[in-house]
Symmetry: C2
Amino acid sequence: MSETEEAQAAVAGLVPRLRRICGEDGVLTDTAQRRTYESDGLPHHRALPGVVVLPTTADQVAAVVRLCAENGVPFVPRGAGTGLSGGALPRAEGVLLVTSRMRRILEIDVENECAVVEPGVANLDVTRAAAPHGYYYAPDPSSQQVCSVGGNVAENSGGAHCLKYGFTVNHVRGLDIVTPAGEQVSLGGKNPGAHGYDLVGAFIGSEGTLGVATRITVGLTRSPERTVTLLSAFTSMDAGGRAVSSIISAGVLPSAVEMMDALAIEAAERAVACDYPEGAAAVLVVELDGPAAEVEAQLAEVTRLCAEAGAFETRAASDADERARIWKGRKSAFAAVGRISPAYIVQDGVVPRTALPEVLRRITELSAASGIRVANVFHAGDGNLHPLVLFDDAEPGAAERAEEVSGAILDLCIEHGGSITGEHGVGVDKACKMPRMYGPDDLATFDLFRRALDPGGLANPDKLLPTPRLCGERPGVRTGVHPLVEAGKAEQF
Amino acid sequence: MSETEEAQAAVAGLVPRLRRICGEDGVLTDTAQRRTYESDGLPHHRALPGVVVLPTTADQVAAVVRLCAENGVPFVPRGAGTGLSGGALPRAEGVLLVTSRMRRILEIDVENECAVVEPGVANLDVTRAAAPHGYYYAPDPSSQQVCSVGGNVAENSGGAHCLKYGFTVNHVRGLDIVTPAGEQVSLGGKNPGAHGYDLVGAFIGSEGTLGVATRITVGLTRSPERTVTLLSAFTSMDAGGRAVSSIISAGVLPSAVEMMDALAIEAAERAVACDYPEGAAAVLVVELDGPAAEVEAQLAEVTRLCAEAGAFETRAASDADERARIWKGRKSAFAAVGRISPAYIVQDGVVPRTALPEVLRRITELSAASGIRVANVFHAGDGNLHPLVLFDDAEPGAAERAEEVSGAILDLCIEHGGSITGEHGVGVDKACKMPRMYGPDDLATFDLFRRALDPGGLANPDKLLPTPRLCGERPGVRTGVHPLVEAGKAEQF
């Protein structure tokens, strides 16, 4: 037997014990069933998991993880599988631990303004449960109807309203986790005080490399008295960018400032007929929320600032239907590009807000030089870009060129002092990019921390941090910008 | 030589090399000079440091820490020494690393709404530097005129405005640290994205056990358009407590809700003649800030809610002088108790807001039963109690009885689902209390993390986590409430 076959045999050997832990229907070994789980929302990375388990309790999770630890078998946790960085990519010689059956909302505690949930609960279901009490759960990834709170914790998910309300890490107060050794540990709580190491924060965004969350306490946010959504249309991206800068500089803090370019607008129109103003080269979606008096004052100011920046039309929607129509275009944009391109890559990078106009111009140049179309849909308020790199997968070499453009955009982000991911996480997709953000000592410190909790390296290996096997022998040494974005070189490809 | 003498000789042997690193005037060996540093703001724990170093750069800090690591000598980092949990208690056989000469504000970055500072910078100096740009640094411990930002990071300091603005951890974006191995590592940054482990959060509140921060990037908060401070007086603590509950339940989010009882008011009056309403058994200080329209609306609502709860007088102050007068009483309260008691202990605990009235009643009972007076001054909005336990240190046994009452108050906090510290930290004072908050597996996980970065146990030993040497052989096993607070027992002592 090869080493690979031996490893696969090891995981197969665990099946009877896994069945005793999770029950007959809690363990999937059939190839067709396992196939369902071979990728998450990053479809070009695929692997058939050795076995899939569906635990229903923290004790079952702990028993599965302990069994893995005792037998040197790796495990990969997975929520709803909507992640965009391959954080839940399974391993052929490993256990895929899926939390989808742990979906109880255990408590809505109005006094303490929090909810206690199991990891498989869908993000939007927290808001649905809190709404009758006048609260909601603030982090709102585009996938919020299906993505799980546990997955949000793993990836520190954001959403359109991060600008004002922050990321998952800003809302989680407490976690019960199962460590890679199979121990059940409580971190934080409903009213966390200032004591001990704040490992809640370190766990959030750890992508399953520090264990599995089995119970999550999230803060709830009071539903605002008033919410208004503006749609403002511009004849150039530069004008839209100027509007963003002047809104932020004026000290208005909208809950969301989203931007779409002409290609993204075209895709959204074809897909959902969102009726955005005709002839727009850029639209801004600006949402304001808070006490009615404050929102009214901000609405007037934002409308004025957009006009000053060159908006040729600004509409305000305050009832739920009108607001939903405006958001429909924005929220469908990712899926909608399927209408104008056979295939695409969703990139996720961050630039300081001040560098936005420059980076957008450079993306346009990259696109022109490579013949690869790029649609821009992004959280403009916090500089979180989501370029959609379009290509035809039937055309030979197109996928590779698209990957190159996508990588070059990330290099632009780094070059301008930004970062390699805003909210989609590192996963398997960007683990090899980490040395671009961190020096060898920084990465060594991360690794010390990881190995402290997971000395055997069994908890979601190869995700989050670079490994020599996947990233080359010397993952720490790649420096400088991508060759494609070095000054003057972009037009050569 | 005894083991202690050998250890002291080891640190003395480092002096020539420390002088080469920090310069002649950067190393203090004289006993009188070292005496200055023998305690922080928790004066009943004292130790003369083996040697005191005053580095001026991160490289010097790294060199000192490396020297300690190579020679197995412990080090204790210290900022301004205002901490209240003994986190900077020196060691006789160790190096005390004082950051007071690293006090440059390196940058005020208005575009990115942040400041980059050295660890020795005084908290209030960040606000002074940001104010001309319309910004301030939100965390505001009572000691903010002198306490250092580095010390705030070590203890995750709060302040009167935590209720709305959070703790230090909510404002620090990036840290350059020197690890216990002497390596210089960067965590986070001006625009941190969602990648890697969030060790910024884990470092904050780590009390020097994970190393020394040498450069700190903090977010700045825009100065509010309007700020109003209310002083509301009640004839009972219960009525004041009811007002707090109804303000919070109404969805108003004041920036501060502070409460003082009759004894604290008496002390403040004697010390600073703050002119609080006569005959008050409790006062609330409520501060509202934000856009003018919002503040006006909230002011009317809070005034009404206080009246409904039984306030016999409510004053609103909106100019800076009037506001300062109201705050003067509150902010001087700790020092002011010196006017009514020869000695006192400042306790720091948290209870869920809903348990406040019950816990305050129990504190009154404890005080009556023991004959030890307790003055209550606290952040009512977030349930962070600061009982001042008064005693006469000339009276035999009084200090011990005061310690017992102080400990029993902490037990009450734990019993009611709260925690052992709100903002003063764990330090040496409460390390042995950690097993009351955490189970053995939780503490073991903390310890794994600590030892990953500090395998030699040289970075501020004996702080933050319980050690058998100081807490008894089995620090993990003490459970249940303090004997003094068991039902019906309080009156027996």
